[in-house]
């Protein structure tokens, strides 16, 4: 113990002076920020264990993995599972659905949430504002299982409120089997997502709005700006950094969106438009006990998400906007 402690300073000076000053600087900073560093250690360990160690499991994708066998007993099959993924006709249908629903989700999520946040912000009546906010974010706390049942009942051709209202208003002359018509599925999905998540999504934008310096509004008042001009020239630009960071993050998750809603609302009649990549993986991977395939699809998803994230980020960088990193 003592020996090594003595040896360390003796070795250091023998290295090139430049490196030594770098190391010295580093050690000095380390000492200075030791509390911060110590505080972060548990989280780095957590991150390593839960986010990096599992990457070892990617080896599964290149094996015909059988549970209950040791690693050395597994059979290696190269890119077999990737080939299976890309060669299946269903895969392309599933990718189309995934992207379509994700983008619908992304655009509606942004446009409507920002609009609602701005509108709420303009409200002078605090009680009304609170009531609207509460009502709009309540559905977020419903589990999808419950929400899906509500949606199924609402859309039912027999006693569903949607059909009753539409027939009552004379818009359609006989009830429509909404969930039985594949092409309606994206619309139904978008509407239910919006209903469920809109209020919740506005919260972060409302927070962003409160960060805007009130002095800017005062100055605009003096310049004689009206409400719309203030929204356009102060509120929205003030929210821009938040919007862009969220956009970049969400683009990275395009392949992740949508599992529960589609799983619970799909049926043989609308499968063609309802099945997403995650459901596809569930069916061929988990249900089939084919964990290797599920892993291969997982890797594929990670790669796509990564490239989308970087693409969005560098785009933001090139346009001189706020960005993630």
């Amino acid at each position: 113990m003592q020996h090594s402690a003595n040896a360390a300073p003796a070795v250091a000076p023998q290295k090139s002076p430049k490196a030594s000053s770098g190391t010295k600087h580093f050690l000095k900073m380390l000492m200075k920020q030791r509390t911060l560093v110590l505080m972060s250690v548990p989280f780095v360990i957590w991150l390593f264990i839960f986010r990096y160690l599992p990457v070892w499991g990617w080896t599964l994708a290149f094996q015909d993995y059988r549970p209950g066998r040791s690693f050395s007993e597994q059979e290696w099959v190269g890119f077999k599972h990737f080939a299976f993924l890309f060669q299946d006709d269903a895969f392309y249908r599933v990718m189309r659905n995934t992207f379509a629903m994700s983008f619908i989700n992304l655009i509606l999520g942004f446009v409507l949430a920002i609009t609602l946040a701005v509108l709420l912000n303009e409200l002078k009546n605090i009680v009304f504002k609170r009531v609207v906010q509460t009502i709009s974010y309540m559905p977020y706390f419903l589990s999808w299982v419950v929400a899906a049942s509500i949606i199924m009942v609402a859309l039912s051709p027999e006693e569903g409120i949607v059909n009753q209202v539409l027939v009552g208003l004379g818009i359609i002359d006989k009830p429509i089997l909404w969930l039985g018509e594949a092409s309606y599925f994206w619309g139904i999905f978008a509407a239910s997502e919006t209903w469920k998540n809109l209020g919740w999504n506005t919260i972060v934008y409302l927070a962003a709005i409160t960060m805007i310096d009130p002095a800017q509004y005062e100055a605009a008042d003096i310049d004689g700006a009206n409400r719309l001009q203030k929204i356009w020239h102060i509120t929205l630009p003030g929210m821009k950094p938040v919007i862009i960071v969220l956009l970049i993050l969400n683009i990275g998750q395009v392949l992740e969106t949508g599992f529960e809603a589609q799983y619970l609302l799909k049926n043989p009649a609308n499968m063609d438009f309802a099945e997403t990549l995650e459901l596809f993986v569930l069916r061929w991977g988990i249900n089939f006990g084919n964990y290797s395939f599920a892993t291969a699809a997982g890797i594929f998803k990670t790669v796509i998400s990564f490239s989308l994230l970087f693409a969005a980020n560098s785009l933001a960088k090139r346009m001189g906007q706020e960005r993630l990193f």
Binding site: D64, R66, P67, G68, R69, D89, A90, M152, S156, P157, E158, L177, L179, G180, N267, P268, A269, N270, M271, D272, L282, R283, W284, I286, N287, F288, G289, N290, Y291
Partner: protein
């Protein structure tokens, strides 16, 4: 897990201490305790090498993927309490909620199982993953009854690697008793339709649908649904299988099997399938087919049948049992359903009733997570004693059944009424014990000649019929429903769906792809607009041909069926 075990241990120590103090306090009071007072202090010492069966209370976990019902601690039921008293063993049974493949798949991926597992359709995966322990030695050591009951079937139960991983539910003991009611497939029709037209004789599908059409025409303002189907999740075979049945084949799964050559033929792309789909389509075009069939889940489907608005449907008795029982206890005979053996053409012999069969790819197994498999196998063995088989099926004498002076078992009208109430049946424990345990096949006979299953005892079956059912039966001049149906031909391989496919094999991939196509096309075919059916069928066939593995699949099954027949006759 470890915490739970410690808690259990503590609990058992406390309970044993209570017994000790109770015994020493009450002196002779412990007499009727049976083996319970068999020197409990030695048990507390940790049952050191004593051959005596230990009575230490223990609770095992049991996951049942075969049924969805209320979870239960068996000792909370009347029958389970008896068992807990006699053996100390009780089970915390958890049932399937949601999707069986996901649930079992997650267990396998995590490598953590309940002590005892009924994996239903996913049993091969659990075996494949090494989730079950080999029971061979345990049976040798602790299972005299198991050996006796399952003895004739050991060939079929033994895995390729020579191990026995689970105990199936269908070893025949004694004479074969046919089921007087239909628990298998049938075309069901509402009693009021039969009554309206004076109980006509019906054999063909056209006659069946015509009757429904006529009835609906007669009562246009009642908002009636002519025919509905179950399509949800894995149960969607209820809408496809009629194609096979109508041609005079039993439920062999996805194939028709030639009786002589054992050649198999996947019927999903056959003329029979087309004919069946087209009949449904015609019914749809007449406005009588329930288009919500394709969006309803299982519960919604059952609710629909219970509503009384549906004139007819095809399904398996066991699958609609809940709806049937609810309708019968509601007491409106008009809404009850009557089963009919419908076929395509006059001259085809129906084969709806299952031939006697041993289903060797369903069963109950002990998992690698079980820490005390000896106790479990001892309990299994104990369950197979005749007395306990009677308890599991008949219940408790004086409560759920009676014995007359000739030793025949029967149930009073009152008992039958009571047992129609699902909650009561659960409280007694019959719901939990009558199936999904090591058991004699329900077609068995007890040593005194009574039927093993009360439903098959003529005394009970007759009393169980409702007024409407008795009326219809007498109109057709029969005593039981099964008399309406043809006797099953001898099919030693039956059922073909019990042939296990290898995990990840081409055959399995084929089945999954076929399911995808069939599922996607069902609504397109059945709900095709006027004149569109032919073109939809053409595009269905062309996608089906795209699978390009049908022949190999059929060949594979044929080979396996031949092997199974050899294994059976080779005994």
């Amino acid at each position: 897990m470890a915490k739970k075990r410690i808690l259990l241990l503590l609990l058992s120590v406390v309970m044993i201490l209570t017994v000790v103090t109770a015994c020493s306090g009450g002196n002779n009071g412990g007499n009727q305790q049976g083996s319970g007072n068999n020197n409990p202090s030695s048990n507390a010492g940790g049952n050191t090498g004593d051959e005596e069966v230990t009575q230490e209370p223990v609770t095992f976990t049991f996951f049942n993927a075969g049924a969805s019902r209320e979870d239960v601690l068996t000792s909370d039921t009347d029958i389970g309490a008896l068992y807990a008293e006699e053996t100390g063993v009780s089970f915390q049974i958890e049932h399937l909620v949601g999707d069986v493949q996901t649930k079992i798949g997650t267990m396998i991926a995590g490598g953590e199982y309940p002590d005892v597992l009924v994996a239903d359709t996913e049993i091969d995966k659990v075996v494949d993953a090494g989730g079950f322990i080999d029971l061979t030695d345990l049976i040798e050591e602790h299972g005299p009854n198991i050996k006796e009951v399952y003895g004739p079937y050991l060939n079929l139960m033994t895995d390729e690697d020579g191990s026995i991983y689970f105990l199936p539910f269908s070893p025949q003991v004694g004479e074969f008793v046919p089921n007087p009611v239909i628990d298998q497939g049938a075309f069901w029709i509402q009693q009021r339709v039969l009554k309206e037209f004076d109980y006509p004789e019906m054999t063909t599908l056209d006659e069946y649908f015509d009757l429904i059409r006529q009835y609906a025409e007669k009562y246009p303002n009642e908002d009636l649904t002519g025919f509905t189907s179950l399509t949800h999740d894995w149960r969607f075979f209820a809408i496809t299988n009629p194609a096979n049945h109508l041609a005079g084949f039993p439920n062999d799964g996805a194939v028709m099997v030639d009786m002589e050559t054992l050649e198999t033929d996947d019927w999903h792309n056959n003329e029979e399938m087309k004919r069946w789909m087209q009949s449904l389509n015609e019914l749809y075009l007449d406005g009588l087919y329930d288009e919500t069939s394709f969006v309803n889940n299982y519960d919604q489907y059952l609710a629909k049948l219970t509503s009384g608005k549906v004139l007819g449907y095809f399904d398996y008795g066991w699958q609609v049992n809940q709806a049937t029982q609810n309708l019968r206890s509601a007491g409106n005979g008009d809404f009850e359903y009557f089963p009919l053996p419908i076929v395509f053409e006059e001259g085809i012999t129906d084969q709806y009733i299952d031939p006697p069969s041993f289903i060797h790819n369903r069963g109950i197994g002990i998992t690698t997570s079980a820490e005390n498999p000896e106790r479990i196998i001892q309990f299994f063995d104990y369950l197979l004693e005749e007395q306990n088989q009677i308890r599991n099926q008949w219940g408790i004498e004086g409560l759920t059944y009676e014995v007359d002076e000739n030793g025949r078992y029967y149930r009073t009208q009152e008992q039958i009424e009571q047992l129609r109430d699902n909650q009561y049946k659960q409280d007694v424990g019959l719901t939990y014990f009558e199936y999904y345990w090591p058991m004699w096949s329900q077609t068995s006979t007890l040593s005194d000649g009574n039927a093993h299953s009360p439903g098959r005892q003529p005394e009970v079956a007759q009393l169980d019929f409702t007024e409407a059912e008795l009326e219809a039966l007498s109109q057709y001049g029969v005593n039981t429903f099964s008399e309406m149906f043809a006797a099953p031909a001898d099919r030693p391989w039956y059922p073909a769906w019990s042939i296990a496919l290898e995990q990840g094999s081409q055959e399995q991939v084929y089945e999954q792809r076929r399911e995808d196509i069939v599922k996607r096309y069902l609504p397109r075919l059945v709900l095709a607009e006027e004149g569109q059916f032919e073109s939809e069928w053409e595009s269905y066939l062309s996608e089906f041909d795209g699978l390009d593995y049908t022949e190999q699949y059929e060949e594979y099954l044929t080979t396996k069926l031949k092997e199974k027949v050899e294994a059976i006759s080779g005994e």
